[in-house]
């Protein structure tokens, strides 16, 4: 399974981590290309708020933010760590985004395995049977 992640809001990161978890449970290998805000999501400091949702959802968005700020709310990073412990999950940082955003590998969460260009990612996922763009 190949996933291109471009967002850093909770209402994208949680569905992303949920898909990754389900796929690894079923024995899929998952390759993630973290690009633009999807890369910022993995920045250690300042880490984007885990309870911020995309704008434009009014009262429902506010309700979701309150639910996500609760102590028992699921954490997308904890889900990815759990997923990585049971199967093959590779997360690559998009080199173009790294440059545009002025980020270095050291500034990223250790969940990120390395920095690659798009051609390397496409080559690695050439035979992926499922692809998502998030």
């Amino acid at each position: 399974m190949a996933i291109v992640l471009t967002e850093s809001v909770a209402d994208k990161l949680l569905p992303f981590a949920t898909l990754v978890s389900g796929a690894l449970a079923l024995g899929f290998r998952v390759d993630v290309f973290a690009s633009y805000w999807g890369l910022v999501a993995f920045r250690k400091t300042p880490a984007p708020s885990a309870a911020t949702v995309s704008p434009g959802h009014g009262e429902e968005g506010a309700r979701l933010e309150r639910a996500l700020a609760a102590p028992k709310a699921p954490s997308w990073k904890a889900m990815l760590e759990m997923a990585k412990s049971i199967g093959e999950l590779h997360i690559y940082a998009c080199s173009q985004s790294m440059e545009l955003l002025g980020l270095s590998k050291e500034e990223l969460d250790p969940l990120v395995d390395g920095v690659t260009g798009v051609a390397t990612f496409i080559d690695r996922t050439r035979y992926a049977n499922v692809t998502y763009f998030i």
């Binding site: 949920t18 978890s21 389900g22 449970a25 024995g27 699921p74 759990m82 412990s85 049971i86």
Partner: protein, 90 residues
């Protein structure tokens, strides 16, 4: 369900079931908990997975089928489901 069935020392099972209480955990939390614990225990171990996530009703049997472990029983309780599972191989 009777009190005796819920007791961990119920005499009908050879060894006590390992209870995995994933109630309150969101999809796919209960499934992920099961995948994690089933790896750590020996073949033949019975698990009792408790889940309040509705998705588990289909996800857990699907995973067991793919992974080749046995769903002994799926017993709905009040507000959650009780999955009795047996590990069949390493």
């Amino acid at each position: 369900m009777t009190e005796a069935e819920a007791a961990p020392s119920t005499p009908v099972t050879k060894s006590p079931r390992l209870v995995v209480d994933a109630r309150g955990s969101w999809c796919p939390g209960p499934l992920m908990e099961l995948v994690r614990v089933i790896k750590e225990e020996p073949v033949g171990t019975e698990f009792e997975l408790l889940s309040s996530d509705e998705g588990s009703r289909k996800d857990v049997p699907l995973w067991l089928d793919k992974a080749g472990h046995q769903l002994v029983e799926l017993r709905p309780d009040s507000g959650f489901d009780r999955f009795i599972i047996r590990k069949l191989h390493e």
